[in-house]
Symmetry: C2
Subunit: 538 residues, 2 copies
């Protein structure tokens, strides 16, 4: 397999001709426009400047100055990243890509960069969609991207406590491969599972497989090791502790600004043996939301509880429905879960929901190994799940055909959801009228909490080749403004990076910003770590 | 009711003659020694120095310089606090006790103290057992204790999202009283429930009612307002957010060193309607631990899962058993829970556990309002629960009769529990041999996690009147050392305060200490907030 330098995932997995034709046919009805295709540029044609720095001899073997490496590490994987790549617009490229083999290498790299004032971009899978790995570091003489991919091992497994010590650079599949012989699993399956790393999940507080309860990676952390320019911060393995503010919670979500996460003890699960799932149709969206809220507050804690609105159901699950489709799933390693599903379906019926024929309970079924596990079959659930994993590839194909296809996400309390949903949808539509003429907004819930949902919006609009970044930025600014003023968070699990800064700065309490900034100065006195992310570059 | 100035809770609820006789008879067998009683001193006899400071006219109405107030705010409620009170040993007494009525008052108080360099001790219910509210602030010209008790209202209830905006100074019972008309409950019932406040729970990361899942107050917080000397930090109401490191998690566990928590939006629960509970006897302690671990890792998430060892069962539940007693409880507002209990009992039987005759499932039973709710009956569960609430009163009575009765707690991963348990127990016994000649150590689990338990130890030993503080300090130092070197945390839910500092300082990662210290300086540049707690006084 070959990783794409300009787009999502593996070159071999890109959308083929058949998939492309079907995709364009589906999209044509929604977004009329010029659907001519464009080829990505060759790397040699990008005219990248020469590296501005040479590593010391002792670190030379860790560092690559190859064009392909530098180009592939210039951007994350947001729509605007892919479009800029397609147009050969790479203004910020790391001078070097360093691949440490162990913590000592990380320390040595930070020491060198600290002495030379070189900016450091900690890098996991590079799947950031918020400019989190893009080296916009004008104030530094050079930039080194520190790619952790060589630190990819499970170092220790404690089956008694169900935990493992894991290096931060491991990608999802290889992590699960190493846990499988022990009968254990992390069960953290973000959409980026195949192309993102443990360290990236921790640094960005990634959202995972579980729609309820263990929604974010934060709660799965037992302890962490973080290399900072001021030393290694190593927390103690503890199931819980009330000794002062949590050290781990400072580094979770620090997005590479406070240190480089090198390893963590992670809480694991036994592999699930019992499963039950269903999809439920609603004629009315408000009723579907009410049913989802009832389930979120029931204490049933489904592993999957994803409400697709009518557009999302149609576009990505091929289901035509008036209000929405709720995708429900329960799982357990220890006991049957069909009664929990039955109770959840009862709550759905109370709100007019009708379970589809694909409702089923599986017991003792063989376990798969990833986000697509156990998806054989032709149900709405299955269709949506397969689509879920194909989405980024399809987005890239659409981008090549001047279709704007991007997502954004938030979370809010239940009492504000209706207002927020309306404000965001109208802001998106208004912005599309202004910049693309037309377009579609969809909404699904990726995670739900007793006190509110995490809505995830999709935007599909006809773009103008050469102008799509500005068009998207216009839409994104409008919806971010709507989220901010409606009381949502600028991000539930995509992180802040550089692109969410204007709204994050308004959302974040002022005194906390001062505290975080002081903590940053204490840990990174030279200000070399991911400058411009979370805090202003110094 | 009148609060005791020197001991736990209400004067009227103190141990009476009948309870005292029974208590001393029980204890006599375990801790031979002089059991003569001693009276607490009168406040007038304490010889407290005059206040060193006079409040400005604008704040005078908020401030009390009364001897009784100052004496009652001098110590927390640890055994060593009670003993020192009984012996009239009050070396550190606040100069004034201020009772702000609203956030503006808090700001004004901090402004005044900041200008004058006066130390400020934020104070909730004063039930600290770690020196957290004791004004050992030699470097400051005066000390003002800021008691939040007047800020005790539920300001807003959002039934849709099941959350409420609550002032920090509210005590447990009054909080539940205000939520009850809405059919909602916080269900946070620490042993101190009646005598501790929301703000205190948040500042110390208190452990509550739930033995699993929502063990600590941290997870029940939606947003917080904190008055710092550098301004008010107000986080946004959100069910979840991945926007940078969590602002709330910096203030949770900050123990009054970063600011004064004035209010919080808290996540609430519907009042439970279904309950099922049981107690299970084990002949072998290791088997009991294994069964508890199996339940903790089962995903069944019991509300109650407290393993008492044989001594704890005998002393506090009146049950004679070889290995231990596991107290199990399930509850739900939405669905029956007896199947969860059945499954948990199955796991117990796998490890040789035998459910007692008091096993029962309740459905639609009337809900009580506190930690002792629904405890009518004579089972081991009931006996233990009643004892649980009487323990602090009995400890005070024992202290008056020269019996050392105190607890300490920790958490560790399952793989280290056996080693830690042995090390701690042996350290306690060795220390008792050295300082009291004899004594008993008991252990129960207050909370359990998939990756480890939170063991809570009790110590009962014959003290020497006039020497009990030194005796206890000797024992406490020995067990803290054992906890620290065995990989446990110096505190799971009692906080750090001033007394746990030596071990906390070793447990806490160095770079995190530097970050926390820098955050403290940014928020509290004059260093007036609870000096000596968590960090060295400046």
């Amino acid at each position: 397999m070959t990783r794409s330098w300009w787009g999502w995932g593996n070159v071999e997995d890109a959308v083929d001709e058949t998939e492309l034709r079907a995709l364009l046919n589906r999209v044509r009805a929604l977004v009329p426009g010029d659907l001519a295709g464009h080829e990505p540029p060759g790397i040699a044609s990008l005219g990248l400047p020469a590296p501005r720095v040479t590593p010391p001899v002792s670190l030379a073997a860790l560092c690559s100055a190859e064009l392909a490496d530098r180009a592939a590490h210039a951007h994350g994987k947001a729509f605007r990243d892919v479009v800029r790549n397609l147009q050969g617009d790479l203004r910020h490229v790391p001078d070097l890509v360093a691949r440490p083999r162990d913590e000592r290498d990380v320390t040595d790299l930070l020491d060198w960069c600290g002495r030379a004032g070189i900016a450091v971009i900690p890098y996991g899978g590079g799947s950031s969609v918020v400019g989190g790995v893009e080296p916009r570091c004008e104030d530094h003489p050079a930039v080194v991207t520190v790619d952790l991919e060589r630190m990819d091992r499970v170092l220790e497994v404690d089956s008694t406590s169900r935990a493992a010590r894991i290096q931060a650079g491991v990608f999802g599949p290889r992590l699960e491969d190493q846990l499988r012989p022990h009968g254990l699993t992390l069960r953290h399956f973000p959409q980026s599972f195949e192309f993102s790393t443990l360290g990236g999940w921790l640094a960005t507080r990634a959202g995972g497989h579980y729609a309820t309860l263990y929604t974010r990676i934060d709660d799965l952390v037992e302890s962490m090791r973080v290399v900072t320019p001021s030393g290694v911060s190593a927390s103690r393995r503890l199931p819980g502790s009330g000794a002062g503010p949590s050290p781990d919670r400072l580094f979770l979500g620090s997005e590479g600004t406070l240190g480089v996460i090198t390893e963590a003890w992670m809480r694991l699960q036994d592999r699930p043996r019992w499963r039950a799932r269903a999809s439920v149709r609603f004629d009315d969206y408000a009723a579907a939301v009410a049913a989802t809220r009832a389930i979120a507050q029931s204490g049933l804690n489904p592993a999957n509880c994803r409400l697709l609105d009518a557009s999302e159901a149609l576009l990505n699950a091929g289901v035509s429905v008036g209000g929405g489709v709720l995708v429900l799933g329960f799982e357990s390693a220890g006991h049957p879960v069909h009664r929990s599903l039955e109770r959840a379906l009862e709550l759905c019926r109370d709100h007019g929901g009708e379970a589809s024929a694909d409702t089923r309970a599986a017991s003792g079924a063989p376990s798969g190994s990833g986000p697509g596990e156990g998806t054989a079959g032709g149900s709405a659930v299955d269709t949506w799940r397969s689509a879920f994993l194909r989405m980024p590839y399809q987005r890239d194909a659409l981008a090549r055909h001047s279709v704007i296809a991007e997502t954004f996400e938030t979370a809010c309390t239940w009492d504000t959801f209706e207002t927020l949903h309306r404000a965001v949808t109208e802001a998106a539509r208004q912005a599309m009228r202004e910049t693309t003429g037309t377009g579609v907004v969809t909404c699904r819930f990726t995670h739900v909490y007793p006190d509110g949902p995490a809505p995830y919006f999709g935007v599909y609009a006809p773009g103008r080749w050469g102008g799509m970044v500005a068009q998207w930025d216009h839409i994104k600014a409008a919806v971010s403004e709507a989220i901010e003023t409606s009381g949502g968070t600028i991000t539930h699990h995509h992180a802040v990076g550089r692109d969410h800064r204007p709204w994050y700065d308004r959302q974040r309490p002022g005194p906390f910003a001062a505290a975080l900034s002081a903590a940053k100065t204490a840990l990174d006195p030279a200000g070399i770590l991911n400058p411009g992310v979370l805090l202003p570059a110094r």
